[in-house]
């Protein structure tokens, strides 16, 4: 795949606050890329830099190999679906969608054809003459998408486009957006703070925090092999415990020594141990398990969320109910124990001891 | 580079608005009677201003009329707003359109029409007619300040008060009035400023014995040279500036407080 957008060492400050700190990222053609992170992580700023609404303080932005730092938004072959849609309130559905074509003085016949194509694509045929102020959130969303796609951009930028919709509608729109992206065969860059959305839709997920990129990978990579405690905690629920790596494939935490599959740490190095709640098996307490008392049980539909109080507090997802007060044992298999470098951003009281690269877990 | 034209534009605009005022203020300290020759610094005009019996009595009239008119307008207007709020749609629309009438009406037409009324009813133009006119043009502003507050109010508040044992009157006093107090106060203050500032309507409805300050100012501008007027302008400018600054500082403080709470 060709690189369509390259971000090279871009930094940005707002009012003395470092919003982006030297980030670099390649985005490939026809890819669905999601920038994921908590609010204030710099994901929207990254998007706005690509859109041309923010100029970076330093670093370069390339589009198809050409540097476009100083190109105004109206000269970029990139379009945006804005967070609250930013539809033109004085224009109806048809004119909103036709806006870009009218600017380029496209003949009326062609406008009509293209707009109708777009209306079909977003399933809004028959709404042409409606005022955009009287549409539902979902319909406004569709108009915004159609309006941004009509110029056939190479890249579509979407800034939390589903944030204002209710859950059911959001799920529908997720599949629909994915369909549109595959149909149009263009690159989507999608900003969200919703990890589930990111995992469902994306080819590539970029996890960001505090103006830096934490991890880039496929949804599976990100979920199964988070590179640090931040990513692990942000993507799904996790039990994160402090531990000590005795040697390759042997880690101590929660008062026990466990086998694991990770290696490459210094002997006796302090690490973060991440365990997904659904990977934990609750058994009868034995000498080999971490034993604790069930504190609460909440029915979540697909599973029960069980809080177990041992020397640490554990979240466990299980399909089998327990009673509060039960004594249980926590059993872990080596492949479910994920070992990570201590990240200063996340666990307090620890700091990065050496500058070696954050490793993936094999 | 993009900044320069806009800066020139700001300077031009604010210069246009403020240079005349600053010239007035500077002249108020000018010992010369002529407006155009500077002969030395003096506070004389301020002293003379405060010793001018006409101006002082006009000031007293203005304040008395403004206080009476605003108070009556606030009471009548608040009652009216509550009444209008509880009306059916058509009645409300008709009355609101009538309420806008004195606002869109050119002032001079309101002025002469009231003058006609008073002449027709054989009421001598004077203190009474001034107060009646001022109440009339203040009333719409009070209603327009109070009505939005009533609309913003959660109607369930009133019901909740009754649910908790208030009778209608208590519910009204304890719940509705506190909710619309800011609107009532704004309405009163607006009435006060409009009344103090009004010239056109007062001009047609005042008699020789009941001059207000703007009317006295008008007769002073008719005389070619009146340095006392400069002194008066300077004082009014300082008062207005102080009031606006206090209002702004309070607003900024209030918004900061809100932020902290969040």
């Amino acid at each position: 795949m060709d690189k369509i957008i390259e971000i090279k060492g871009i930094s940005k400050e707002f009012n003395g606050e470092q919003v982006l700190d030297n980030i670099s990222l390649d985005i490939h053609d026809k890819e669905f890329v999601t920038l994921l992170g908590p609010s204030g992580c710099g994901k929207t700023t990254t998007l706005r830099i690509i859109g041309g609404f923010v100029t970076p303080d330093s670093g370069d932005l390339f589009f198809n190999g050409k540097r476009i730092n100083d190109l105004p938004p109206y000269k970029r072959n990139v379009n945006t679906v804005f967070q609250k849609y930013a539809l033109f309130p004085h224009l109806n559905v048809y004119e909103n969608i036709a806006f870009a074509l009218r600017l380029s003085k496209t003949p009326e016949k062609k406008i009509n054809m293209r707009v109708n194509e777009m209306l079909e694509l977003v399933d809004l045929v028959g709404f042409e003459r409606r005022s955009v102020n009287y549409l539902s959130g979902g319909q406004q969303q569709r108009v915004a998408i159609a309006r941004a796609l009509i110029n056939q951009p190479k890249v579509l930028l979407l800034d939390e486009p589903l944030g204002a919709l209710d859950l059911k509608l959001r799920k529908e729109m997720q599949t629909e957006l994915k369909k549109i992206q595959q149909h149009m065969e263009i690159t989507f860059i999608y900003v969200t703070h919703d990890q589930e959305e990111a995992l469902t839709m994306s080819d590539t997920v970029v996890v960001m925090n505090r103006g830096t990129i934490q991890q880039v990978g496929t949804p599976q990579d990100i979920y199964n092999e988070p590179v640090n405690a931040f990513v692990a905690d942000f993507i799904g629920e996790s039990n994160i415990l402090g531990g000590i790596m005795h040697r390759d494939r042997l880690v101590e935490f929660a008062g026990n020594i466990f086998e694991c599959v990770d290696r490459g740490f210094a002997p006796m190095e302090p690490v973060d141990v991440v365990i997904r709640p659904e990977d934990i098996v609750l058994t009868e307490p034995t000498a080999d398990t971490i034993n604790g008392v069930v504190e609460s049980v909440t029915f979540k539909g697909v599973h029960y969320e069980i809080i177990v109080q041992a020397s640490d507090t554990w979240i466990v997802h299980s399909t089998k109910a327990r009673e509060p007060g039960d004594i249980v044992g926590i059993t872990l298999s080596p492949s479910d124990i994920h070992i990570m470098k201590k990240s200063s951003a996340f666990s307090q009281g620890s700091f990065i001891t050496d500058e070696t690269e954050v490793r993936n877990i094999e | 580079m993009k900044k320069l034209p806009s800066r020139v534009y700001y300077i031009f605009l604010f210069g246009f608005l403020y240079i005349p005022i600053f010239v007035l203020i500077a002249n108020s300290f000018n010992a010369s009677k002529s407006r155009n020759v500077w002969t030395g610094f003096t506070f004389d005009w301020y002293v003379k201003l405060f010793n001018d019996a006409d101006i002082m009595s006009a000031l007293a009239n203005t304040i008395i009329i403004a206080l009476i008119a605003s108070t009556v307008a606030t009471v009548l207007g608040t009652a009216a707003a509550i009444g209008i709020f509880n009306m059916k749609n058509t009645a409300r629309t008709v009355i609101m359109n009538a309420t806008y009438l004195p606002i869109i009406n050119p002032e001079i037409v309101t002025g002469v029409s009231l003058m006609l009324l008073f002449v027709f009813l054989k009421i001598n133009l004077g203190f009474l007619t001034l107060i009646l006119s001022h109440i009339t043009f203040c009333l719409p502003y009070v209603i327009l300040c109070v009505l939005p507050k009533l609309r913003q109010m959660d109607i369930h508040l009133y019901e909740a008060a009754m649910d908790l044992g208030c009778n209608r009157r208590q519910a009204f006093r304890k719940v509705v009035i506190p909710e619309i107090t800011t609107g009532i106060i704004t309405g009163f203050l607006m009435s006060l400023t409009y009344s103090i500032d009004d010239f056109v309507i007062s001009y047609f409805t005042s008699g020789p014995t009941s001059q207000t300050l703007p009317i006295t100012i008008f007769s002073m501008t008719r005389r070619k040279v009146s340095p006392k007027l400069n002194a008066l302008s300077a004082i009014i400018f300082v008062i207005v500036l102080a009031v606006l600054l206090v209002m702004n500082v309070r607003e900024i403080k209030a918004s900061k407080k809100n932020k902290n709470r969040r």
Partner: protein, 307 residues
């Protein structure tokens, strides 16, 4: 609250009927009538004769009935007479229109630029626009007299460069200037309040879809600020066209406007409330027409914009 509380609007309705509706009806009545005076035997009197009779009556220690009776007669004369002053009316409209247009061009960029500033800075800018508004307009107008005089500050300043002196006061230009100076804030404030409601993203969306600065202005910002333009125009034009003091102070006696004409009929030596009412009526109708026209300006396309 309940239906019964609607009666609390009653005193207000009564008040407004007496002090707004009745006076306007009086204007209407006076505009279409003329007063004819009779003595007690039914002979028609001229104004001079009537005054003589009253003087005699007062001299006689007010013996007997008041000697003059007045009757109103319906007539179109007053309205027709307004036509004699058409040059004054047209002049007023022209001067007020010029002032309104200049206010719009002067105020529009300012309102837009302020609406894009940080909120705290917006507040300060708007405060300094409002400040002169709070001073009595007579003082503001008086300030310009000082500047525009023959040996006023502006002429003295120009003298330094060897130009002038110019005749500035008592000209139509001075009247227009006075209107602009007095009413500019009334243009800026409604424009500003509409523009703050335009979302930054809406303007960005226009750029994003290929609009350059000019296109973004004409295709998005201008249409969205139409309601502000409409109310700004009304708020400047209405007081400008009906003013009578600005023309008196800055225009000298020679540049009469509608307002001066009306004032003359009610407080001047040519006391004639019938003609005065007729001119007022013409002014009122004209102003209402203008307002409904400017209201059309924005109701056209922005129907349904939630303001």
């Amino acid at each position: 609250m309940n239906r019964r509380s609607r009666y609390s609007a009653f005193p207000y309705l009564l008040w407004m009927s007496v002090f707004i509706i009745v006076p306007l009806i009086l204007i209407l009545v006076f505009a279409f009538t003329t007063t004819v005076k009779f003595d007690n035997t039914g002979n028609r009197l001229t104004n001079d004769q009537a005054a003589e009779l009253i003087a005699d009556w007062e001299a006689s220690g007010k013996a007997g009935d008041f000697p003059v009776k007045e009757k109103f007669y319906f007539t179109f004369d007053n309205i027709i007479q307004v036509g004699n002053y058409s040059s004054t009316l047209i002049n007023s409209v022209i001067l007020a229109s010029i002032a309104t247009v200049i206010c719009l061009f002067l105020g529009y960029p300012f309102a837009y630029m302020v609406s894009r500033m940080r909120v705290s800075r917006q507040k300060i800018m708007i405060m300094f626009i409002m400040l002169p508004m709070w001073m009595n307009f007579l003082l503001r107008t008086y300030a310009w007299m000082t500047l525009l005089e023959k040996n006023g500050w502006i002429n003295r300043f120009l003298e330094l460069f060897g130009i002038g002196p110019f005749e500035m006061i008592n000209t139509q230009g001075a009247v227009v200037l006075g209107m602009i100076y007095n009413f500019l804030p009334y243009m800026i404030l409604p424009l500003y309040s509409v523009m703050t409601k335009i979302d930054d993203h809406t303007i960005e969306a226009a750029y994003d879809l290929g609009a350059n600065r000019v296109k973004a202005l004409t295709k998005v910002i201008l249409p969205l600020s139409m309601p502000g333009i409409a109310s700004g125009i009304t708020m400047v034009f209405v007081p400008a066209v009906s003013t009578f003091i600005i023309s008196k102070l800055l225009g000298g006696g020679t540049n009469m406007l509608i307002g001066d004409l009306i004032e003359l009929q009610f407080l001047g030596n040519t006391y004639n409330p019938h003609l005065g009412s007729a001119i007022s009526l013409v002014l009122l109708v004209f102003v209402l027409l203008c307002i409904s026209v400017t209201n059309q300006l924005d109701s056209d396309k922005t129907e349904g914009v939630l303001l």
